[in-house]
Amino acid sequence: LAKTTQPISMDSYEGQEVNITCSHNNIATNDYITWYQQFPSQGPRFIIQGYKTKVTNEVASLFIPADRKSSTLSLPRVSLSDTAVYYCLVAEAAGNKLTFGGGTRVLVKP
């Protein structure tokens, strides 16, 4: 199983870039890396997904080095509404298993 490890919490300020790194040392060849955002009393919401190198969408970027043993979610110019828990997820092709990390609680301050 590709266990994921990510920081428990991070603080930031409005307008700054937030980078959250997730470790997944045992990731397998066909596994994908996905990040979700969760606000209190809501279900997780998909942010971005990637396999290798860099992926960018309208809300975030995902950087994956060549060895794919880690990934970094980058949130540009965060606002107060970006305060949430961010989960790193490795979707394992073998056995169709989904493995969530413990989540990183990001607090954006004024």
Binding site: Y32, V85, A93, G95, L98, G102, G103
Partner: protein, 115 residues
């Protein structure tokens, strides 16, 4: 329109009771899931169904039984509830059956409290 809806949102019940949580998705997805989120916010998959067929069944007590009458619904029935079953249960759905390259849509969650 709510994409993935689950009912009830809150459920308080006594130990030993049997309860059900219902989930419906109107996204036309083929695959549905049940997740459990504990008090420490860890999210763990419990079950996954693809076109009404079970494809993931994690190590979950057999008191938990999912039922999928059609691909738009995946209900979760729990027998003989225990204190440790208290958690937030999330239903989700996705388009692809191969879950490693897909986006899952989650419901709002059902907070189950067993007293």
């Amino acid at each position: 329109d709510t994409a993935v809806s689950q009912t009830p949102k809150y459920l308080v019940t006594q130990m030993g009771n049997d309860k059900s949580i219902k989930c419906e998705q109107n996204l036309g997805h083929d695959t549905m899931y049940w997740y459990k989120q504990d008090s420490k916010k860890f999210l763990k998959i419990m079950f996954s169904y693809n076109n009404k067929e079970l494809i993931i069944n994690e190590t979950v007590p057999n008191r938990f039984s999912p039922k999928s009458p059609d691909k738009a619904h995946l209900n979760l029935h729990i027998n003989s509830l225990e204190l440790g079953d208290s958690a937030v249960y999330f239903c989700a759905s996705s388009q692809e059956g191969a879950i490693m390259n897909t986006e899952a849509f989650f419901g709002q969650g059902t907070r189950l409290t067993v007293v």
